[in-house]
Structure formats: C-alpha cells, structure tokens
C-alpha cells in the first residue's frame, strides 16, 4: 500500500542523527581506547610539542640612531621530542630597522620571519637581535612587543602516528596489583549483585499485597536509587567516619567497642582464621543498599503478574506460605532474577563513582575502573589506563555475550 522505498528512506533520515552521535561519542571513543592502549601516551603528551618564543627589550633610553637590542628566547616545549620546520613570525616596530639578526631570519615589511630546520628536545636559547633606531624614532610610541611572536612547527604527534607497542599491556600485567584488582572487581560485582537481589526480593515480597500506604513505601524504597550518588556516598562516609561519624560515636558511647573502627580503611580483618576484606564488605553493603530498588521494581512487577489461581490451588492442597514461596513464587521469578543478576553484574562491573567516592580505591577496594582513573591521573599514563580499560571492555564483552545467550527474548518484552 505504501511505497516501501520511500518509507525506508524516511527511516534512515530519522535515524541518521542518532546513529551519527552514537558513532561519534560512543563507538569512535571505544576504537580510540584500543588505539591508545597500544601507544605509550603520557598525560603530558596530550599537548603537542611546539616552539615557545619570548621577546625582551634589552636597551633603555633609546634615542634616534641608537642600537636597539632585543633578546629572543627560543624554546622547544617538549623535553623529549624534537620539532621540525620551525617557522616564526613577529611584527616589529616600524621605528627600528635590522642591523644584525640571527641566521635564517629576514625582515620584510616590518615583519621578522625565521626558519629553523630542527629544534632538539630541551632546546632553549637566547639570541640577541640588533636593531637600529630610525631617525623618526619616538620613545613614547615605541613598543617593541607590538605583537606576540608566533611560531609553528611540525612535530611527531604520538597520538596520530602509526607506532604501536604492547608495552602498556606488559606493564599492566606485570603489576601484582592488577590481578588483585581483577579479583576485587569480581568479588565486588558478584556480592553486590547478590546483596541487591536479596534485599530487592524481600522488599518486593513485603509490598506484594495491597495495603494502605503501599504507594508511600514503594516511593520510599526507591530513594537510594534516585538520589545523586555523590550525596548518598558522602552521607555514608560521614556516618562511618572514625572520629566525627555517627556510628562510631554511637558504639563508643554504648561501650560496644573500646576504640573507633575504621570502616572505610580496614583492608583485612582476621575473622575465624581467615582474612576478611572488611572495607570491601562495607562497600558491598553500600552497593546493595543503593541498587536494591531496581531489583525491587522489576521483581514487584513480575510478582504481580503471577496468576493468582496457582496460589488458590495450592491453598486447597494445604500448602503453607513458605512452601508456596519455594514452589510457586521462586520458580516464577527465576527468569527475571537471572536477567537482573547478569544486568546488575555488568553494571556493578562498570561502576566507578561509588567506590571512588567512598574509599578512593584504598583499603583493598581498588576495582579495575578505579585503576583506570589512577593510571590516567595519578600516574599520568594515558596508555596504561586505556589498556586497563581494554581489559574491562573485553571481560564485559564476554558477559554481554553470556547475557545475550541467556535472555535473548525476555528483554524484548
């Protein structure tokens, strides 16, 4: 009935803006991340090496006919890389004319232009240019810094050249820390997911039946999820603070403990003979607290879709509530729980802010995402940071693949 071709054309025009922005801001950076991971880029390399030129007037009290000395300072901004084909231009005052200037420089129409083939790394030289004041020299109007000297040069840009190396990965994998971080990331993602699911299931079961005030509780239960992470994380940090915090003071006043506990600074606690990662546990509690609302919403929706006659039939057969939960409710929820599990696991795996704001990655809570940040900004190494990000991406691709295998249909609903 309708022209299919026309329809397809319209569809493409409607989709092009979306597709292009997704390409630019999501797919291209992923590619860029892989690109960077094979290059030894430091934070300082982001600014390409360039010539720095400064001028300074060396003579005072100039009268017509006098020599005018101007000192030019040439510098290569990079400590490590040479720059080539340096071209410098500077407008000079029309009150002076050149007498003795450096090799490679000419003055044309009051414009000084210089050309240098190569400046070595750390090149830094002061050259004095000799000018002569013309007869019409006026000291009041004379301004040697009439314009800022401009310099352009070619330099080997590490970001765009085609030199690749595996050194970043080598560096990352040689660190003992990395394996530890992967372990922490898995522990954290797994247990935070389990915690959120357990809390979510319990909360959903509580609000399954209709009662007065159900809407209020449903709204309340979503609070931790909708509030800004920075606000709730800071509040938790404040509550758990060893000296000013609420919890420690409360426990101390009641003599449950004799000295403050560093909730967010205890890497290991000896617990029945094995090392219990205490701070990681606290962070997992935080994550469970913050993300259970999501599981709660999903499971509540699924709970209310379970056919009521299943319960009625089992009531007649004499099943107890607990039996009903294990033999009817749980099997019915299994689909949504497994879907939620893999989704939450992936999202916990990606989480950066929560841990960063709570502990900054200290006390045994450094996950891979925090390591990316540390490599990039604490160690100023963009290359190794990207290679950690690549590791995250590859692990994630595996999870997403599993997710696609487990729930290809459910998600389309």
């Amino acid at each position: 009935m309708f022209n299919l071709n026309k329809e397809a054309k319209l569809a493409y025009t409607m989709l092009i803006p979306t597709i292009s922005i997704v390409f630019l801001i999501i797919l291209f950076p992923i590619f860029g991340n892989f690109w960077l991971s094979f290059k030894e880029v430091k934070l300082g390399d982001l600014r390409a090496p360039q010539p720095i030129i400064k001028e300074k007037l060396k003579t005072k009290d100039i009268k017509p006919g006098d020599d005018v000395l101007i000192e030019y300072r040439f510098k290569n901004s990079s400590q490590k890389k040479p720059i080539f084909n340096v071209k410098i231009t500077d407008k000079i005052s029309h009150f002076i004319s050149p007498v003795e200037i450096a090799e490679g420089c000419t003055v044309n129409n009051n414009v000084l232009s210089c050309y240098f083939k190569e400046w070595k790394p750390k090149y830094n030289e002061k050259i004095i240019f000799k000018f002569k004041a013309n007869d019409n020299f006026e000291i009041d109007n004379f301004n040697p810094k009439e314009s800022k000297p401009k310099g352009v040069a070619d330099a080997d840009n590490i970001l765009t050249n085609l030199k690749f190396s595996l050194k970043n990965f080598q560096k990352i994998l040689q660190k003992n820390e990395t394996i530890e971080n992967i372990k922490v990331t898995f522990l954290y993602s797994f247990f935070a997911t389990i915690g959120a699911l357990i809390l979510g299931i319990s909360a959903a079961l509580l609000l399954e039946k209709n009662f007065l005030g159900k809407g209020f509780f449903r709204g309340l239960f979503l609070f931790p999820f909708v509030s800004p992470v920075i606000a709730v994380a800071f509040t938790w940090v404040y509550i758990l603070d060893p000296f000013k915090g609420f919890l420690n003071n409360y426990l101390l006043n009641n003599e449950f403990i004799s000295e403050p506990i560093f909730f967010l600074g205890l890497k290991k606690v000896d617990f029945l003979g094995f090392d219990f990662p205490f701070t990681l546990f606290i962070v997992i509690l935080f994550e469970s607290w913050r993300y259970f609302p999501l599981a709660f919403l999903f499971i509540l929706a699924r709970l209310q879709a379970i056919p009521k006659d299943l319960y009625e039939a089992s009531d007649i057969d004499g099943a107890t509530k607990i039996q009903q939960f294990f033999y009817i409710t749980l099997p019915q929820l299994l689909g949504v729980i497994s879907l939620l599990f893999i989704l939450r696991f992936i999202w916990n795996f990606n989480k950066f802010e929560d841990i960063f704001l709570l502990t900054g990655g200290n006390a045994g809570t450094r996950t891979l995402t925090v390591q990316v940040y540390d490599e990039a900004f604490a160690l100023s190494n963009m290359g190794t940071a990207s290679s950690v990000a690549v590791i995250i991406f590859i692990l994630l691709a595996i999870f997403v693949f599993i997710h696609q295998k487990i729930a290809p249909k459910d998600i389309e609903e």
Binding site: E7, A8, L10, A11, M14, L15, P17, T18, I19, I21, V22, I25, I26, I30, N33, L46, L159, L206, G215, F217, R218, G219, L220, F221, L222, F223, P224, F225, V226, S227, P228, I230, A231, V232, F234, Y238, I239, K244, G245, F246, N249, N253, N254, E255, L297, T320, I322, L343, I346, F349, N350, F352, E353, V372, A376, M382, A389, F393, V400, I411
Partner: protein
Amino acid sequence: MTNNIYQFFFIYLYSMITLFLLVVIGDFVSISIFLSKSIFIYKNIFLYCFLYAICFFAIRIIISSQISNIFIFIVSCALSYFFLINKEINAYQLLIILSVFIAFNLLLQKYFTAKNFSNFLFEVSFLKFLKTNSLIFFSFIIIFPFYLMFVSSLKSQMVLLQNPTDLSIPFIYSISDFFSSYIAVITEYNFLNFALNSTIVSFVTVFVSLFFSIPGAYAVARLRFAGRSKISSSILLIYMVPAIVLVIPLYVIFSQLGFRNSLFSLMIVYPATTIPVALYMLQGYFKGIPYELEESALIDGCSRIGVILRITLPLSVPAILSVSLYVFMIAWNEFLFAFMFLDNQEYFTIPRGLYTQLDDQEVPRQYLMAGSVMITIPVLLLFFIFERYLVGGLTAGSVKG
C-alpha cells in the same frame, strides 16, 4: 514435643531481635522528638531479653498449653516490669518495650488457643511478625542516612563535634542560625553558580536526547527498512558500554579539540549516553500505540511527519514525560564526566563542585551535608510529584544503572 520447644525457642530469639530493633529505633525517635540527650545502655537490654526469654521458656515448659492466656500475659508484664523498672529508662522507651511485649503475647494467645497446634499456624504468626519487622527495618535503613544528612546540615560545628550522636532537630535556633550552613554554602562556595550550570546542562541534555530519540524511536518502532532488527538489538548493546571506557579517549580527543573544559563538552557527552536509553524506552511505547490510528490518518492523506506530530506524540505524552524525567535524573546526578572534564570553577556542575569545594577535611561537615541536601532535594521533589511516570521510566529504562 521437641519440635514445639524448638519452635518456641526460635520465636523467642526472633522476638528478642525485634525488641532490640524497636528499642534502637524508639531511642532514635525519642531523642529526636523529646530532645533528650540520655543514651540508653543496650548491653543491659540484651541481658534483659535473655532473662526474659529464659523465664518465659521455663514457664512454657512447666505450664501446659491449656493455661489461661491472661495469666501468661500478666506474668510477662510483671517480669518485664520487674527487670526494667529500676533502671534509667524514660517513659517513652518503657512504653515501646511494653507494647512489644503486649503484641507478642497477643500473638502467643493465638498460638496457645489453637486446637490443632500445627506448623501452619506457627508459620502464619511468624510471617506476620517478620513482615512488620521487615517493613520497619527497610524504612529505617533508607530513611536514616537521609535524615542524618538533613539533621547534620542544620547544626553548628560545635554541636556536631560535641555530640555526633545527637539526632534532634535544633528548633531552638533562630531562622538565620537554622539555615546558616545553607547560606554559607551559597555565599562562600558559589553554590548557585554550580546549580545554574547543572540546570542548564540537564535541560539541554533532556531536550537534545528527546529531539534525537523521538524520530529514531518512531523509525525503529514503525517503519520498515533494511537493518531494523539489527539497530533495535544494538541499542541494548550500547547501553552496556561503560563510561570509564569512553572517558579516557574522550578526554584525549576533547583536549586536542580544545573544548574539554567547558559545559559544551558535557552537553555533547550526556545526550550521547542517554539517547540509547531514551530511544529504547520510547520505541517500546510507540509500538504499543494502535497502528490503526496512524494507518487511517495516512490513508486520509496525512504525511508521516504529520502523523508523528498529530497522533503519535500527543498519545505518548506520559512516555515522553517519564523519559524526560529519567534523562534529567541521569544528567543531574552524573559525576564521572563532570569530574574528568571540568577544571575551571565557573563551569562546575553541582556534583563536581561538591567534590572539590566541600569534600575537604578543612571544610566543616555540615556544609558538605547542606550541599548534599541541596543536590538531593530537586531530584526527590521531582520524583514525588511525578512518581507514577518515573516508576514506569525506571522499569523500562533501568537497564542503565
């Protein structure tokens, strides 16, 4: 008989936990309501609970289940009174403890009087108990951090340091003292500027993502074209791309292009990360609109664009509202990109400003809490007003987290 004993022991243990929870909460409430600074010694309460349980357990064994319920009730009251009266407890706490005992005993009455003393009854009473307690527990763990955030923001530095466990709202202050931290955060730390930046960025993000995702969602939901199924499934994959993988290359690219340190950079990145979510949510809704409506308009000679503007959009106002709220929430709460991209104070959004300006050991904690309250309130307000829509949006789009 052994089974019964086991069950009783279980119920007693459980009642102790309940009691403890309620006393703790009751203490919080009483401190905040009556401004009493006395701190209850919970160690003793544990002891009382155990004594109480042992006594009750002994009575249960001695007396058969035929004994009058009133007798049990009186005994338990007397016991609790005997153990608790000569200790320093305020009336409010005693009231709570007694009411727990009463409730517990009323429950036990049922248990004792039932003719067929079965597992079933035990379960029903146990679950009722559990449900009430769990609701209290959940409300407590959610409200408490928010309440503490709010209360701390109203206090002065001295009060906070002297008694960090004081949870009362300081009504005795004058109005200007009451909000002094808020005034300080606004005047000294440039908070209004951050709020303005956050608002601008969030609104632009909402507008841009709607502008891009509405046509895209319509195309995916309704139009037939080659590659449609590929696109609709890859939307979901794009959800899963972690921000931390994007942030390093985007930092590099934006630095090179020279607009990293600006609000503009956020206005590009935020919509790009929210468009897939918005598109996914909207296309689901568009698919639910009966196609007959659009078809008849098309036959009557309306163009596609006309159909979208006159039929689809007016019908999907709730969906668009929930998408906007969800996107607004994401943009308002976003921390990572703002943290990485912005250097100049004049461009800071609220999360970024809070992090650098107020999260410092030198800055009094109540300022940090005041800032946290101010960033949370708009979100919670929006959430309460539009809860219905937002819950719909959360379920549809919560794959993003």
